[in-house]
Subunit: 413 residues, 2 copies
């Protein structure tokens, strides 16, 4: 089965999938180790290193006003366009840990930099796990040493295992992209099962490529692709304290991607498809999720279509209806009305799986058995048209299930 | 047991509770009837009439951009400061019904006005029930005639029964308020079990008093009290298409309430306590709710404390922790951080039931068994201090339970 399993991610022509045990793109080594942070005894510390001194990178971090210590370190104490190493731990988010947390994260960054023989400003740190617990620094340091000993071009799987928490699916890929200048490689390792859950989850993604990019191109492409993927998903509307996405380009594949070239477009399309499919895998793996949906909103004002799409994606009424396979489109009208409250009455059109159910805010006659069947599929698409046509947006989201409540109400820290 | 059951609603000294079977304040009659809109055969059409031609009124309606037809009629086709009649139906929200819905609501308004021998501009209409279904006008007209025959000063209970949907508690009260000028009466009937559920619920509240108020005073007092009660609650963050709150003052008790007098303050305090307790009863009766909470946020900027309080109240992670009796305060920090994303890092202090758990964004040592016991009570209070002290707000909310998912996922329209 193709990595690109969603109907919402067409596979670009230039992209070829490689087996998951393919070596990382040229210049990269990775490893995972058991440091003892996870009570389960599973791997919990990962290292990624790029052996090219000329590597360029791009970073996107959570926008939360309560960032975790590793986010602060990566944001404020690294050369974000020249990263060559990444230290990741699962089992502890090092969030809501104050100054001590920052000191702990800095110690780990320093130790990883020493282990990788580079300055600490080249090493990003990322953490995922429970909030409000101090990082067991000694364990992480032990994990760094063990991981360093295991660094290998074949280490993507080991790294993946060490960054996962409650993930039910493995979110990684190895791609080749056929450009005019030659073939480039892209690999990615990603985790996430909920935008945030202090017991379990957060969203992390690490992307490696052997393409030769300048820093502005790397940042532009990665920024656009993150906005179209990880920024467009919601499991429970909750922004993590720890979200981190990092692209590193070694340049060692020998194929240069010139700004505004056809190859830049093809590379961008490949990166876009990769990140969108990974983002959809996070949604599908959302805590307790049984079904995922896309809401596509058009209208006259970007702020309004954005608010409407987010409101639908985060409405517990829409999400429970999605869970129940219930074509309860009145809840969509209600969610949009609530999101845009205080303004004029908005006549809206609504389609579910291409079946129009509402025109100008009023119910239509439609084929009820056809609609009932459509909303029980694995992927459900809602389309909402507000007055005007200049703006549009989309959000991917999961349902709200009994398992979500069980996971989040019954397991306490 | 007192109507004022919550610790968050101190009973004003001037207020005396009367038995629920007390007659309505002077000048009011009410009734309920079975019209056949509810499949259960329970009462579903109510009439309220004020027999004083000098009555004054105040109205507050949902701010949604997708208002139901009766909301449009009440907003646009009544003399909102001179209402003397109210027609309510349950069993059908008459929402997302377009122009036909408005025509249906207008027909019912006209029939109620004829039945009550007044102009239609004096009659408000309100509906609650399933969205996206046309109002069965013939049944409502039949109900109006039946209710008219039953109009009585003893009709508050019958009216209450006809406006309820999935309510598990009866939300009404009869109060006396001792003023310098004499005793005035206030009565209220209210329903709501979720901010909105298209299958079931919405929030309606009707308040009658025999006090003599001018229209500006009535509007001011009612507006302030609605803002401090029904505007401060959330079951699932979902704004209804149909929310309606109406105060009618007959003036027939003979006690005049002068603007800016001590009596105005006492009357306002009584109305405030009444509406706050009713609002808390709605939260406690939220779909599937087992526990309710108050989040109190202080800080420098009103917009920020409001966003933070709403984010906590509507966070599925906070709400599931509340359901599980889990002192998982990392979720509060995460919710506030997400609400105020994009700005500076916010050092915040957090208390749960008076126990400080977080200072300046970092975990504190605290008595864990004491905290664990505190969060399993019926009412839980969270306090959050953001930098600065000029602004504050509060939101009351319910938990997120398996029953919420069951009610909203498994019962389809």
């Amino acid at each position: 089965m193709s990595f690109f399993a969603s109907r919402w991610v067409p596979v670009p022509d230039a992209v070829r999938e490689l087996p998951l045990d393919t070596k990382l793109p040229a210049g990269f080594r990775a490893a995972g180790a058991v440091a003892g942070l996870k009570p389960s005894g599973k791997p919990d510390v990962a290292l990624l290193v790029c052996d090219s001194p000329e590597a360029v990178s791009a970073v996107r971090l959570t926008a939360t006003a309560a960032p975790a210590a590793p986010v602060l370190i990566t944001d404020e104490r690294t050369a974000k366009h020249a990263l060559r190493g990444v230290l990741v731990n699962s089992g502890c988010a090092n969030a809501a840990t104050g100054r001590r947390g920052v000191e702990d994260a800095a110690k780990c960054q320093g130790a990883a930099a020493a282990a990788l023989s580079m300055g600490p400003e080249h090493v990003a740190v990322a953490s995922t796990g429970a909030i409000a617990h101090s990082l067991p620094v000694d364990l992480v340091l032990k994990g760094i040493l063990a991981a360093r000993a295991g660094l290998s071009p074949d280490g993507a799987g080991a790294m993946q295992a060490a960054i996962e928490t409650t993930d039910r699916s493995t979110k990684r890929a190895e791609l080749a992209v056929e450009l005019a200048g030659g073939t480039v490689r892209i690999a990615a390792q990603c985790k996430g099962a909920g935008m945030i859950s202090p017991n379990f989850a957060t969203m992390l993604c690490f992307v490696e490529t052997d393409a030769l990019l300048d820093t502005a191109t790397a940042d532009l492409l990665f920024g656009v692709c993150v906005r179209r993927s990880f920024d467009r998903i919601s499991v429970d509307g909750q922004l993590s304290t720890n979200d981190t996405a990092i692209l590193i380009a070694s340049g060692l594949g020998g194929v240069r991607i010139e700004p505004e070239s056809a190859d830049e477009r093809l590379f961008g399309e490949a990166l876009d498809a990769l990140l969108r499919q990974l983002a959809l895998m996070i949604v599908a793996d959302g805590e307790g999720a049984a079904r995922i949906a896309r809401v596509h909103v058009t209208g006259g004002v970007q702020e309004d279509v954005e608010a409407a799409a987010r409101a639908v994606a985060n409405s517990p009424l829409v999400k429970t209806a999605l869970n129940g396979g219930d074509p309860n489109w009145g809840r969509i009208v209600q969610a949009v009305g609530g999101a845009l409250a205080g303004g004029a009455v908005l006549p809206m059109d609504v389609w579910i799986e291409g079946i129009q159910v509402c025109a100008g805010g009023a119910a239509l006659d439609y084929d009820e058995p056809e609609l009932a069947a459509a909303v029980t599929r694995d992927e459900v698409e809602y389309r909402i048209a507000l007055p005007g046509e200049q703006a549009e947006t989309e959000v991917f989201f999961s349902d709200l299930s009994h398992d979500y409540v069980t996971l989040n109400a019954e397991y306490t820290t």
